[in-house]
């Protein structure tokens, strides 16, 4: 399989236009999950993820956000219900989905270049071709010059950039991120959030994002799905109508932003006791 074969997938997606509702690229239908041992993590989740948007799963710790994301990724099976991606039922991982891991999941014995090219390597893309693609994505996440470094030589923030570049390099339609910024410091985190907004605007990819942080969710999301405590259900869907101008700092002072943060906080508060 060649890269050019994979390439059209992501770029074909239409940019999210205001007003027109984009089609749902990921559909979650009545999904339940009970782990061996009897822990009921998800109880009947139904959700749609609109194409070209960033949708965030937000909810109390242990409510099943990772579980839901991994079911959509095809990494763990659901106990009931089904997930459709692009109209096809998910039976396992697929080319149209890629994952960014909370703990980075980089191979310590492989250079940055090989880590980023790994998805393409597994697909049998020729070395020169996949390394050219990887180099482009490494440059794009701001790691030019680090191609031949190893993960232990990088900071946490840089490692997560490698994880992001690896997910982008396979050019999937849907990118899933499980608390990708939770292991980096606050400054890096804010920078990442700004870059993520830029990425969503430019790529036309669909992003599924998980976070603990209400501020982060409101800042980066087009759509926020609030999950209740375990066994979790969808408790609310919020679409902050934030005008995203050129100045990323403005967003944090935007009244729509502040209102959404407050609104979500009020709703999540009841899960605290």
């Amino acid at each position: 399989m060649s890269v050019s074969h994979i390439a059209p997938a992501g770029t074909a997606a239409p940019p999210p236009a205001a007003g027109t509702a984009p089609r749902a690229i990921v559909e979650v239908r009545n999904v339940t999950k009970t782990y061996a041992g009897g822990v009921e993590a998800l109880s009947g989740i139904s959700l749609e993820f609109p194409e070209g948007r960033l949708t965030t799963l937000l909810g109390p710790s242990g409510c099943g956000k990772t579980t839901l994301l991994k079911i959509i990724a095809g990494l763990i099976p659901a106990s009931g219900g089904q997930v459709l991606v692009d109209g096809r039922e998910v039976k396992g991982p697929g080319q149209e989905r890629s994952f960014v891991f909370q703990d980075f999941a980089l191979m310590p014995w492989a250079s940055v270049l090989r880590n980023v090219a790994f998805g393409l390597e597994l697909r049998g893309v020729a070395r020169s071709e996949r390394e050219a693609v990887a180099e482009r994505h490494i440059a794009r996440v701001g790691l030019k010059g680090f191609e031949h470094k190893y993960p232990h030589e990088l900071s946490g923030g840089m490692r997560q950039r490698v994880g992001l570049a690896r997910a982008l390099a396979v050019d999937s339609k849907v990118v899933m991120m499980d608390e990708p910024f939770s292991a980096v410091d606050e400054q890096t985190r804010r920078k990442f959030q700004e870059e993520l907004l830029e990425l969503v605007a430019k790529e036309g990819k669909t992003f599924l994002f998980v976070t603990h942080s209400i501020e982060e969710a409101v800042y980066v999301s087009d759509r926020i799905v609030l999950l209740s405590r375990r066994p979790s259900r969808v408790s609310a869907i919020i679409e902050p109508k934030i005008v995203r101008g050129d100045d990323p700092e403005k967003i944090r002072r935007d009244s729509a932003y502040l209102d959404a943060v407050e609104d979500i906080w009020q709703q999540l508060k009841r899960y605290l006791d």
Binding site: L75, P93, A105, M107, W109, L122
Partner: protein
């Protein structure tokens, strides 16, 4: 205040720098290793001079003995003889040991079937088994090769098993999310991740193989290095006896060092200087 503060610092600087340079030299790995070797050899020389026992030569006497057996060619010939069962036994142990270890690591039922054999072999007193081996296989090469295998294989097998089992779950999940087949996961993730621990098993196994081959040569029939040891013991030429022991130890250490070099250059690019 400020000037008096600065002046002594400037004066003190060169000596501080010199001291830290001296410390750098003193804690250099090579220096520390030489110090360690020198201490052991010094202690040996001292113990030989007390004398600890009439049968314990000094280090310098041993060196003279070493020169004698090296000069008359008997040491070289003995090495060739000893190396044969050692290398055959070690090769079999490495190939079979790593193979079985990987198999058991990937496949639980085979672990339940095979692992107990090696756990027992590891605990069994070899000297007590040798009469059984000679009874079954005679006093030739086979019995000696088997002795080497019994010594070397358990630690190689069990380390390999543990190494494969210890593959980080998140890396396996990562590979799966990028559509790795089972065999790709094994080749690209499980084996590289297991290689440090497999190699530490190989180093321990090699050390055990050296012990095994000398035991076989002392307890089954005196050949090779074992012959030099037991012959010179019987004629009370202790410097030559210890020279043979010393030479096999040095050889074993160099062999294990070589293994480590091979590991780093083949499997651990991130540890290359």
């Amino acid at each position: 205040m400020q000037t008096t503060d600065v002046a002594p610092t400037v004066a003190a600087l060169p000596s501080v720098r010199e001291a830290s340079r001296l410390r750098d030299i003193l804690i250099h790995p090579l220096v520390l290793r030489i110090v360690s070797f020198a201490a052991v050899l010094g202690l040996w020389e001292y113990a030989g001079r007390i004398p600890l026992s009439a049968a314990f030569p000094t280090f310098l006497e041993t060196l003279v003995g070493l020169r004698d057996i090296a000069a008359d060619g008997s040491l070289g010939k003995a090495f060739l003889i000893t190396l044969k069962p050692l290398l055959i036994g070690l090769s079999v142990s490495v190939v079979l040991g790593v193979g079985l270890g990987v198999l058991m690591g990937l496949h639980r039922p085979s672990e339940w079937l095979i692992a107990p054999i090696f756990i027992i072999a590891q605990a069994a007193p070899l000297a007590a088994l040798i009469p059984v081996l000679t009874f079954a296989y005679g006093i030739g090469l086979t019995a000696k090769v088997l002795t080497v295998c019994i010594m070397a294989m358990p630690v190689i097998v069990l380390n390999t098993l543990g190494a494969v089992r210890n593959t980080p779950q998140s890396l396996l999940e990562m590979a799966r999310s990028f559509l790795a087949s089972r065999s790709q996961s094994i080749r690209h993730v499980i084996l590289p991740s297991a290689s440090p621990m497999i190699f530490s098993g190989l180093r321990l196994g090699s050390a055990a193989a050296f012990i095994g081959v000398i035991l076989a040569e002392l307890l089954i029939t005196p050949t090779g290095i074992g012959d030099i040891i037991s012959y010179n013991q019987s004629v009370a030429d202790y410097p030559k006896m210890y020279a043979a022991i010393l030479s096999i130890i040095v050889f074993a250490v160099l062999f294990i060092e070589l293994l480590e070099r091979i590991e780093v250059s083949l499997f651990r690019p991130e540890k290359r200087p």
